[in-house]
């Protein structure tokens, strides 16, 4: 069977691949959205932190023999802790200022991180093996699905929906949302907002690192792995609008799918399709799909 001249098996497999990429977009844009939500900062260092997450896993494996599963926990913790330190020492000083300073600071940090890793590990990147448990793949009939990719989707979606649940359905989440709007008053109501902010940043960063570890066995672990990805994720965030957590998750997944389809029907445009969609969405809904104007 063919659809627009493309065998349906190929189409099915592309949709699945799109979903896998969408999972990465979702985790990354979720982290960005959370940080933006509470700190009002666009975390330009998100891509670098994603890269560092992957590197920590790689270093842990090659230098200390720490396996994938431990790294999946450890790396977000370590990078999250780095995030906590950054927030305490630097970002904290910027909250009273125009938001653009946060963007500029994290941009500078991204340059530093990428530069340091580049200096230390060179540019070519390192290989991280697929964990033994997830080796191989299953034949779905229409495609060969590497088990690891399946795991990525499951892990990413679990984390995304878990996060969504915490933020939308728990008291902690209500503090977060309220703190986003008026930290002073939330403080006056007796909630330790500075701590909340610190941990939110740490958590957002940890999400980036988590995505990094997930990515390590798929992509080469290289110092620049995050720097191009992050701009696409920014576009995803613009398309989704910063309005809702669920919005950023769904937009991430959706754009992964659309990108996957573009790669079949018109691969030349697959690099720009996200940006084209962004333009179209902005024309119709300046605040993004889920954003509040």
């Amino acid at each position: 069977m063919e659809i627009f001249g493309v065998p349906s098996a190929l189409l099915g497999s592309q949709l699945l691949v799109g979903l896998i990429n969408g999972s990465f977009y979702a985790v990354l844009s979720l982290g960005l959205a959370i940080i933006f939500g509470l700190l009002n900062i666009i975390n330009f260092a998100h891509g670098a932190q994603y890269m560092m997450g992957a590197f920590v896993a790689w270093i842990a494996l090659t230098k200390f023999g720490v396996n994938y599963w431990v790294a999946l926990l450890l790396s977000p913790l370590i990078i999250g802790a780095v995030g906590v330190v950054l927030e305490r020492t630097m970002l904290r000083k910027l909250y009273k200022l125009d938001h653009l300073y946060g963007l500029l600071l994290t941009f500078g940090l991204a340059l530093i991180f990428e530069g340091l890793f580049r200096d230390q590990y060179g540019i070519s990147g390192q290989s991280y093996p697929v964990p033994d448990l997830l080796q191989g793949g299953v034949n779905l009939g229409f495609m060969f699905l590497p088990i690891y990719r399946g795991w990525v989707v499951v892990a990413a979606l679990t984390v995304c929906f878990g996060t969504w649940f915490i933020i939308e359905k728990t008291k902690l989440g209500a503090y977060l949302r309220a703190g986003t709007e008026n930290p002073q008053i939330v403080q006056a109501l007796g909630i330790n907002v500075p701590l909340l902010i610190t941990f939110t940043y740490g958590f957002g960063v940890a999400l980036a690192a988590f995505a990094g570890v997930l990515a390590a066995p798929i992509y080469q672990v290289s110092p620049l792995m995050g720097s191009n990805l992050i701009i696409v994720v920014f576009a995803v965030v613009v398309i989704g609008g910063m309005g809702s957590i669920m919005g950023s998750i769904l937009t991430g997944l959706g754009l992964g799918l659309i990108e996957g389809l573009t790669r079949v029907f018109y691969p030349e445009a697959s690099a720009v399709v996200v940006f084209v969609i962004m333009v179209l969405v902005l024309l119709v809904r300046p605040a993004g799909l889920f954003g509040k104007a």
Partner: protein, 240 residues
């Protein structure tokens, strides 16, 4: 010693309080005391520093110095979120309703800092408007509804020392009247209240004492008994 059984008779004692926003020095040594169950007002012209006094009790100003004793304990060095644990509740001038939370979520948000916080039912009985709009997003409420919500929110926490900044602002007379009744009731329940008000007609019958501020200093203290005799002076200084 103070304890739950022997509460300190003095709920709030402020001594030589100075406050700054960046370079500008706003409060120049405020002194005041409020006993448990009392209601006092801060009067003054626009910009005289009344709101700033409340904010500096909570640590919401740039910098502050002096002494703030709450319930007998020094609190000047405490961060804002700890002040709430001292039993201080604050209704800000600008209401600060959270837009991303519904009316009811706004009410559910504050943690209980002490026993005796009001239940939702009690709140809705007090402010029927809120019951009707309970699922509306916070900022979609009308100005007056937001004002009620801000007041209600603090009553939920169980805070016993209430710092209320212009709570009648933008309210219809019918609600203002209701608020007056509520404050009387709160007093009778042992709440301590510091009121900042422009609406003198509202504040006068409620207060045990009035502090008059000018340029960040207290220029007069007038007790309820003395009030009739000082009305002329108040007229002159405040245009009341």
């Amino acid at each position: 010693m103070t304890s739950a059984f022997h509460p300190h008779p003095e709920m709030l004692r402020i001594h030589d309080l100075h406050a700054f926003y960046g370079e500008s020095h706003i409060l120049h040594g405020i002194d005041l005391q409020v006993a448990r169950g009392e209601c006092v007002t801060l009067l003054g012209r626009n910009g005289s520093g009344r709101s700033t006094t409340l904010k500096s009790i909570l640590g919401l100003v740039g910098r502050r110095s002096g002494s703030i004793m709450v319930n007998g304990k020094e609190a000047i060095a405490e961060p804002t979120h700890r002040m709430a644990r001292y039993g201080v509740g604050y209704v800000p001038e600008e209401r600060a309703i959270f837009a991303s939370l519904s009316c009811e979520e706004n009410l559910l948000l504050p943690p209980q800092v002490a026993s005796g916080g009001m239940s939702l039912d009690e709140i809705y009985r007090m402010f029927p408007n809120l019951l009707e709009r309970r699922h509306s997003p916070g900022t979609k409420l009308s100005g007056g509804e937001q004002q009620m919500l801000a007041m209600a929110r603090v009553l939920r926490t169980g805070a016993k020392l209430l710092l209320l900044d212009e709570i009648t602002e933008g309210l219809a007379p019918v609600i203002v009247k209701k608020l007056g009744e509520i404050i009387v009731e709160l007093k009778s329940r042992g709440f301590t209240i510091v009121l900042v008000e422009q609406n003198f007609r509202f504040a006068a019958p409620l207060a045990d004492r009035h502090y008059v501020l000018e340029h960040g200093e207290i220029i007069a203290t007038i007790s309820a008994d003395e009030l009739p005799g000082r009305m002329d002076w108040l007229h002159q200084t405040l245009g009341v």
